[in-house]
Amino acid sequence: MPEQYKSTTDLQRAPVIEPGHTFGTVTEKISAIVLTRPASNGWFIGFGICFMATMMMLYAIGYLFLKGVGIWGVTIPIGWGFAIVNFVWWIGIGHAGTLISAILLLLRQSWRNSINRFAEAMTLFAVAAAGIFPAIHVGRPWLAYWLFPYPNTMRVWPQFRSPLMWDVFAVSTYATISALFWFTGLIPDFATLRDRTDKPALKVIYGMLSMGWRGSARHWHRYETMYLLLAGLATPLVLSVHTVVSFDFAVGIVPGWHTTIFPPYFVAGAIYSGFAMVLMLAIPIRKIYGLEDFITERHLQNSAKVMLATGLIVAYGYGIEAFMGWYSGDRFEAFTLWNRLHGPYAFWYLSLLSCNIFIPQVLWIRKLRTSPVALFFISFVILIGMWLERFIIVVVSLHRDFLNSSWGMYYPTRWDYMTFFGTIGMFLMLMFLFLRLLPAISIFEMRTLLPEAEVKE
């Protein structure tokens, strides 16, 4: 490579891990957050607020169980209100974690090693938040287990030709595999914590969790095979999950839902919002815990680039939706497009276009891609935009369909908002706990990134 280009390439390629670190310093720095650093007042305040929000969610759900879904804003024709909007939003956010841990592993993107652990935690907590909604939306939530095929005295079975049943299997498989992936990734780090801690109780707990991991070469070999295979299984799985979620809509005949672009556009949107959430979590975490050496500018830049690319796919999806509304010649499809732009929810559609398409284009500017503050706010805008996208798909499509006589409007109630903001509180509360109890960065995978880890044959 000619000399004059070298310097710009070096600039673009900020290191994945700052120079000067050894196996020991990497281990100490990451495990210290869990083992020795006392929890700050800020942690307690943040955790406390999120805990209260979680209690608010439980209160709202408790009241729902007493009164029924009538306390929500859902009515006919909008039978799928906030619950489904939030479900799709949360499950989409989870997708970035699997993308980072599985797809980037298969593509040998070693920079993922410093963000995969907490991205996977994010996936788990997001899926947990998502899973609440369909369960409490079924009307008789105490019977939600009827969705699973279990032998019962009624001698009936679920209806497997419905996309809603596919969703049950896709989401529960996704939750299980994500949990397994996360836990097995933690086993060697549990061993590190077991050997580092001087508190006997913690030694026992981490020792149990590590399953007696001792780092034998045979164990590592099987472990790596398992990890690679799990990544290979999780990759089609994550693509299938949001595809199946989009089938919930696309298989229906409602104008604005019945379209073949939905699966790819849903998957891209999921990764888009997921990376936005990764950045919104990573930027404060690296600052507060001094992890800038491990989560470097390179990670922020790469995440920004992924958002830019998936954002353009989402924009293409919107474009095709609009084009097909016109080109299909179907007057109901054409009306859906008109209604989005000029109907009672036009403000929200235009906000969605600004948040998801126009504003994120500033990511073409390198200065903004490398500025943590700017990225934090752009990510926030994208998360709002992606929530609005699901709102437009669910509510605006349903509120005016084929018959004028069945048109209506959707007015969410305070219980809708309490449940939604409550799940955000629960998600962040779990994140707070995770940061203090488990290593937020995969220690053993960080060791492999150091130059000392290289072995010549």
Binding site: R155, W157, R222
Partner: protein, 178 residues
């Protein structure tokens, strides 16, 4: 049978390179029952100590096949045999509609068998193991690399094996009580 009071002899190294070189030398010297410990996976280290048969992929394959068959047959039996229900005139055995759940069940069973298979083949969970008796071994999960020759090896001899390991320029050599 009386247990051997000594489980093996363990040498400690500073770097991944030193461990790989030592493992190769030891294996080439004819020691078969050996093991190497490192704080992160080292490519090729398992081959150096004579480990070639990794059964995890086979376990995952079998798990995946069982999962796929379970998924499809479950849907077929429930929808077409035990409880046929006319939904929108679709045939009870609508195979295209069964593909999604068949796929998800394949992934679910394959994933679970990958994790359980890895743990079972590795003999984990195993909270106690003789190597933990060596105080310095706690660094094996941080920044040190260890090689052990088990006392069950045919070539093992308390004096000669120790001399052999000391010749590999380790940081320390210790006996592992069982």
């Amino acid at each position: 049978m009386k247990r051997d009071p000594i489980y093996g002899i363990m040498a400690e190294f500073d770097s991944a390179q030193a461990l790989v070189d030592a493992a190769r030398t030891t294996h080439q010297a004819g020691y078969v029952k050996i093991d190497a410990y490192s704080p992160f996976p080292i490519e090729g280290l398992a081959e150096e100590i004579g480990f070639h048969h990794d059964e995890v992929p086979l376990v995952v394959l079998i798990g995946g096949i069982i999962g796929g068959l379970t998924g499809y047959l479950m849907q077929w039996w429930m929808s077409a045999v035990d409880y046929p229900l006319n939904i929108g005139g679709k045939p009870p055995h609508s195979w295209p509609a069964f593909i999604v759940i068949t796929f998800e069940m394949t992934i679910l069973f394959a994933g679970i068998s990958a994790v359980l298979g890895m743990l079972a083949l590795n003999g984990l969970p195993m909270p106690y193991h003789p190597v933990f008796n060596v105080p310095r071994f706690s660094s094996a999960s941080k920044d040190r690399f260890f090689l052990i020759v088990f006392s069950s090896d045919k070539k093992y001899n308390a004096v000669d094996t120790r001399k052999f390991l000391e010749a590999l320029a380790p940081r320390s050599v210790s006996e592992v009580p069982s």
